[in-house]
């Protein structure tokens, strides 16, 4: 994650270090998927260049553009971050003032889009480059500043055109959430409302949400679903996840569901299921380190030095929320590259590839190879991390037999 306050005013150069100007604004599509499409660069003659993000090569101390970049114009339905959202008043449905937009959080891992708006004090301090100082001081007095954040799913993008940052109605908001976020949200409500909400969603999307729910919820939901509905959901999610899901069900229910699948899908899933005789349990390595999302890099490094001296394997730091549910991961390289005062949620990867306790070893192996990872976290029914499976252990286990 990166903040607009950190991008604004950054020098923009081409890959061969020819200065273009400074970043003034970002342009995004005013829709449910607010991907950033163009950047506005002010050159030294005060002329504003609009450059599509495809020419953006990387962002670190400078913003690098490809050598042959071209400029373009504003398209329809496109808005500016600086002009249209930043500093604007956020109002709720009744028109009450809530707060102002202090900063914009931009997701730059797996896409380049607006994740949400920062409405907290930290967002204000960031404009004065005081965030780190503030964190340093507050960590001395044992106080943890929490960042206050409003997800894009909460905002009505069409209202932005009218200069209003308006919050959404609850139901409206759910439909526009990312499946992972919606799953997190649903886990906090009860089963009947989960079912109600899943019913109004588009089937493909609903399947995606179900795939992201924790195992307890999945199994209870599948008890409620009719076999054909369950089959449709099974068919539309990733086969590896589908097998994971099927294995949770009772044998009777599983067979019912399998009957409703298409021939091809049935064969594919059955093949995977047959592989699943090896339980993953005896491959789990219980050595891992988990930290909270607002822990600072400095604290985490200290924790690693102190708590992991006898570890045989350490590649990742796992991030959990206050309920100890796994919500992110960062590898050691990323950790070392950051300054001590950065909280880990700023750079962790949120979409963690996980395996369940019930996941067959073969599926775990497939996943680890597919995503080119060195280890996968194993989570229990409550999304809590119980250990790791490493690629070496997985390969060893299946090489023998």
């Amino acid at each position: 994650m990166i903040y607009f306050s950190e991008l604004k005013g950054k020098k923009v150069v081409t890959e061969d270090m020819i200065q273009v100007g400074i970043l003034e604004d970002l342009i995004f599509s005013a829709s449910e998927n607010p991907s950033i499409t163009k950047i506005v660069v002010k050159n030294k003659d005060d002329i504003r260049l609009t450059i599509p993000v495809v020419f953006l090569s990387k962002i670190n101390n400078y913003i690098y553009l490809k050598k042959d970049f071209r400029t373009t114009n504003l398209a329809e339905d496109e808005l500016f971050i600086l002009k249209n959202i930043l500093d604007k008043q956020i109002i709720d449905l009744q028109g009450n003032k809530v707060v102002r937009v202090n900063d914009i959080a931009i997701q730059n891992k797996g896409g380049f889009y607006i994740a949400g708006v920062d409405i907290g004090v930290l967002g204000l301090l960031r404009w004065f480059k005081l965030e780190k100082t503030f964190r340093k001081i507050s960590s001395k007095i044992n106080f943890k500043p929490v960042s206050q954040f409003l997800s894009w799913a909460d905002i009505q993008p069409l209202e932005l055109v009218h200069g209003q940052v308006k919050l959404k109605k609850e139901e409206q908001r759910l439909e526009k959430m990312r499946p992972e976020d919606l799953a997190d949200y649903l886990e906090k409500t009860n089963l009947t409302s989960v079912k109600k909400i899943l019913n109004i969603l588009d089937e493909k999307f609903a399947a995606n949400v179900v795939g992201n729910l924790n195992v307890n919820y999945q199994s209870s939901l599948f008890k409620l679903f009719t076999p054909d509905k369950a089959a449709r959901i099974i068919a539309s999610i990733d086969p590896d996840d589908a097998v994971d899901l099927l294995l949770i069900l009772t044998e009777k229910k599983r067979n019912q569901v399998l009957n409703y699948l298409s021939e091809k899908k049935y064969k594919e899933l059955m093949h995977l299921m047959r592989l699943s005789n090896t339980p993953i349990g005896n491959l789990i390595l219980p050595e891992f380190i988990a930290v909270y999302s607002d822990d600072l890099v400095g604290e985490i490094l200290k924790k690693i030095r102190k708590g992991t001296t006898d570890f045989s394997f350490l590649q990742h730091v796992y991030v959990v929320n206050k309920q100890n549910e796994l919500i992110g991961v960062a590898n050691l390289h990323e950790l070392i590259m950051q300054s001590f005062q950065t909280p880990i949620y700023r750079f962790m990867i949120q979409n963690v590839v996980v395996v369940h306790l019930t996941t067959p070893g073969e599926i775990a192996l497939k996943k680890i190879l597919k995503y080119k990872l060195s280890a996968l976290p194993v989570i229990n029914n409550d999304k809590q991390i119980v250990g790791l499976v490493t690629i070496v252990d997985l390969i060893n286990a299946f090489n023998k037999g």
């Binding site: 500093d87 009450n96 003032k97 707060v99 937009v101 404009w127 004065f128």
Partner: protein, 415 residues
């Protein structure tokens, strides 16, 4: 008569539905610091300083009208615009300056209360606690209209200055003539500084913010803009009408007998030998009233500004639960200011000096934003400044900015 009433009933009612905010904020400009300044200059220069009053009235009317127009046309406050158009950094800077200056002004008002309490052997501590309690109660519990009524009642008490002026047997003819001609006055450096002081106490950053925010909070419809403008001019006139009597009361007594005041609060005691105990008492009463009004209005200004700059609910009509921050900031300032004023080692003179300099830095900034907004057609539509309004506004702002610079230089070089 009945015929006239029927004919103009609608106009009258419309006017009275709008009436309030601009008058209140203009009169609040005569807070304890304002009263102190007028009595000091009255005692020092006599009727001749009245010459400045006419200018000040026009300047006040022109500048307040811009704030009122912005509020009615856009429904937004100055703070909203500064934040939205100039970003967080500017907004925070302006807010910090404003809250520091406002805190200083509140301290000045509290210290006037303390001085008056001392004169009448009333425990100052108790008086201050009572006032904070009263202020917080009406602001947090009362809605907009309750508060407006309380403020207008306080404005009525300004008539006490008129009574004390009459008691002091002034030369009315000379006083009135002085309004248009300065008479035998020579434009000394001291006179210029006194004029600037009069200007600076009437046209204040908090006054500009307050008239605008208070108008926004009233949510006046655009079709009543005309009435709001008339009210603004009336309010400016009324405020300086009262100032006139403050000057007259001291000019007729202290100036005439060559008594120089060290502080404005002393006036209540100093005029008693010449105008009688009752006039002195009325003057003291007026001063307490001015101080309370100043304390509430200035503190409310910071609270309004805070909610505009940072986007929190900020309306007198907001229930306590929703406007917690708004009411909290209001109370917080009063408490801090009262603690400062009670500390024995703090020099009030220094505080007033710093407040003046911060105000002098802020005023040009505020006029810059006011002019920018009132000339922006996309915001104001057909209500942008016309050519003459602009000339007048720029001239007024120019005079105020020049005098602000004077103040800063004066403070820097200890003239």
């Amino acid at each position: 008569m009945r015929f006239l009433w029927n004919k103009y009933k609608f106009l009258f009612l419309s006017f009275f539905s709008v009436f309030g905010p601009a008058t209140i904020s203009a009169i609040a400009d005569n807070d304890a610091a304002g009263v102190a300044t007028f009595t000091l200059v009255g005692a020092k220069f006599g009727y001749s300083i009245l010459f400045v009053l006419l200018f000040v009235t026009i300047l006040l009317a022109v500048t307040q009208e811009m704030g009122v127009r912005i509020a009615v046309v856009t429904g937004k406050g100055l703070g909203d615009f500064i934040r939205e158009r100039y970003g967080v950094r500017t907004a925070l800077l302006v807010f910090l300056l404003l809250s520091i200056a406002n805190l200083g002004s509140i301290v000045a008002n509290f210290s006037a209360l303390k001085a008056v309490a001392g004169m009448f052997n009333f425990p100052a501590f108790l008086l201050i606690i009572l006032i904070i309690g009263f202020a917080f109660l009406i602001i947090s519990k009362g809605g907009y209209h309750t508060n407006q009524r309380v403020f207008l009642l306080a404005a009525l008490f300004y008539f006490s200055y008129i009574f004390s002026a009459f008691r002091s047997n002034p030369n009315w003819g000379q006083a009135l003539v002085s309004l248009i001609s300065p008479g035998q006055l020579q434009f000394s450096q001291e006179f210029i500084f006194a004029s600037i002081a009069v200007l600076g106490t009437t046209i204040t950053p908090w006054g500009q913010f307050f008239v605008n925010s208070f108008m926004v909070d009233k949510k006046i419809q655009l079709d009543k803009l005309r009435f709001a403008q008339i009210e603004t001019y009336f309010g400016s006139f009324l405020a300086n009408f009262f100032s006139f009597f403050m000057v007259v009361a001291t000019a007729a007594t202290l100036y005439k007998h060559g008594i120089n005041l060290v502080s404005g609060e002393q006036a209540a005691i100093a005029i008693a030998p010449f105008a009688g105990q009752f006039a002195g008492f009325l003057f003291a009463f007026g001063l307490v009233n001015s101080a309370i009004m100043g304390i509430i209005v200035i503190s409310l200004t910071t609270a309004y500004a805070f909610s505009e700059f940072f986007g929190f609910e900020g309306s007198l009509d907001a229930p306590f639960e929703k406007g917690k921050l708004f009411y909290g900031i209001f109370l917080f300032q009063l408490v801090i200011a009262s603690v400062i004023v009670m500390l024995p080692f703090i020099s009030l003179f220094q505080i007033v000096l710093y407040t003046q300099s911060v105000n002098a830095i802020l005023l040009p900034l505020i006029f810059f934003y006011l002019l920018k907004i009132t000339n922006n057609r996309s915001l104001m539509g057909k209500y942008v400044n016309n050519k003459w309004q602009n000339y007048l506004a720029i001239c007024s702002s120019g005079i105020i900015i020049v005098s602000a610079i004077f103040v800063i230089f004066g403070l820097l070089f200890k003239l």
